[in-house]
Symmetry: C2
């Protein structure tokens, strides 16, 4: 089969690799209908050291079950399924608590194993990992269902961890796919005011469609001043941080209201957070983390199926497998917001 | 009247100062029945630069209302009252939300204003600040009522911000008065296992009386290993951090379970918290901050009055005003856990 490998910064190749086979009785083989390129794929695309072996890529996909291990339950060959970006057994204490990213038998896509940017994937812990779309395959819904693999579930995680209450004010930092899904999630949870900090008009326009009431294009001190101005100098009850840079977390701290919550879902590109005595006096909470997408797919799936939400709108480009290297470059150049891959 | 002033590190004096008078119609004058020395007073006692003017000290007291401004409501001369460690108007949005430490018209004790380590104090925003003890003065209850001014409310804040659920496991870092009150609070909220990290036997014994199920005397890596050993390698759902040193927050991060909550009430003596990518993957939440004691006094008061809790046990020494300088030294030398001052 054909699959995507990364050999170093800027070096993405689509190659022929062995077709996956069942290795454990808990495995499934899925034929990938759609995968995508993630904002987090851009970090190694910018910095990965050169390698001779290459690393399989992609951690988001929807597909059709082709084959099942003998111990897999709850799935049938032919099922149309969503794969969250981490595999999990569904039975351990962490999974039962909804923190599947800490599953005691969890696994990640890619690297030496199959990724989502290819034709097929072996799915470990298939019973716990895969979610069947009860309505079956629906071409029109592919982008939104695919978004549940990662970006929509990640934006929703930010909002859920912040426990947004109806009527609260929210700032979303970042107009990438996750930030826009965070806007949609804040809206779903009843936020009355949603300030989106981002400077790409096409993206912030989609943010407004998703529920943003205000857009702040300024960054740094000017951006902070603008959010303060919009909130009587107080900042917002909640800040959803969907960037991962230290400047973003500094902005979050500056624009959160006393007693408020910063919920971060941007993978931190820093090791320390400036939450010292001043923030202690303000009773600021920092929460969030990597999203257990599996915990949210069942909750969000009905909203996608009944068209209440359409998070798939974050995909603004669809390509075939051969164009994946160009897709990486388009996202790195900010020419594409999020690229959908149809193998 | 006599009152306590600090002139620099190690330099505490009891002097004659002017009696307080009503300055605003919202003020009250309270005759202090009991005040105390706080663990947080030890930070300036260790580091305050030399000063010619001196800074009034003490931010915790109970007393009798002597005089009331014309706009004060809900209080009468002769009332036995508890003063939380921050004054607040009781009417602004932050006060109504229970975050009186961010009150829009709040005030702090001490400095140029009266403190709690003296004979009388002018209380700003008296209607919002003071809580009347409905049962009136009761000598036996003075220590526990006084603890609601700060240490018990602060320990409770840690537990409340962590939203401890019945059956959860909790580590408390620090066997000072606040740490012990955090143990008591975790017990009140139904924690099934409470591991107290502290190495002063007299204090950890009181911790056991308050509800600690395990005591870990080791510190640093050895302490972390011991807590992990007690929790199948996972750590506890909640960590209440009542020290404020960076080593304590590092320990907290190491002993909290994935998906868990660190709630800090030790005033941070550092500016950055090591919550980077690794902690992001573990979905660790950091909450807590300075405690809005006023928010909790009414909730905890009935439990003190009916003897459900006796947080006043943290006071292991009672002194008169003249002995306050020696009281500071005894606390700094760890000879006394917490010193009660009867002016």
């Amino acid at each position: 089969m054909r699959a995507t490998l990364m050999y170093g910064a800027g070096d993405v190749r689509v190659e022929t690799v062995p077709n996956p086979t069942l290795q454990e009785p808990t495995d499934a083989i899925v034929r990938i209908v759609a995968g995508c390129i993630c904002g987090s794929d851009l970090w190694p695309y910018a910095s990965m050291p050169k390698s001779d072996v290459g690393s399989r890529k992609g951690h988001e996909f929807v597909g059709i079950v082709e084959e099942l291990g003998t111990e897999v339950t709850g799935l049938a060959v032919g099922d149309f399924v969503i794969a969250p970006f981490v595999a999990s057994d569904g039975t351990c204490d962490f999974c039962r608590e909804g923190l599947q990213t800490s599953c005691r038998h969890g696994a990640h896509w890619g690297g030496h194993d199959d990724g989502g940017q290819g034709e097929f994937a072996r799915v470990p812990q298939a019973s716990g990992t895969l979610v069947v779309v009860p309505a079956g395959f629906d071409e029109e819904l592919v982008p939104s269902l695919l978004s549940l693999s990662d970006v929509m579930s990640t934006g929703y995680h930010a909002a859920k961890k912040a426990r947004i209450a109806p009527g609260q004010s929210v700032t979303v930092i970042g107009d990438g796919a996750v930030g826009l899904c965070a806007v949609l999630s804040a809206k779903l949870m009843g936020a009355s005011r949603i300030i989106l900090m981002g400077r790409h008009a096409a993206r912030t326009d989609l943010g407004r469609e998703f529920g943003a009431t205000d857009v702040v294009a300024e960054r740094g001190e000017a951006g902070i001043a603008r959010v303060k101005e919009l909130t009587n100098g107080d900042g917002t009850h909640v800040v959803l941080e969907a960037v991962g840079l230290k400047t973003a977390i500094e902005t979050a701290i500056a624009v959160v209201r006393d007693g408020g919550v910063i919920s971060r879902v941007g993978a931190p590109q820093f090791s320390e957070v400036p939450l010292g005595f001043r923030e202690f006096l303000r009773n600021i909470t920092l929460t969030g983390g990597v999203a257990p997408a599996r915990a949210y797919i069942e909750e969000l799936l009905p909203l996608v199926l009944d068209r209440t939400i359409e998070p798939g709108k974050v995909f603004d480009r669809t390509i075939g497998l051969d164009d994946v290297p160009a897709g990486y470059q388009a996202m790195a150049d900010r020419e594409a917001l999020k690229v959908l891959v149809r193998p």
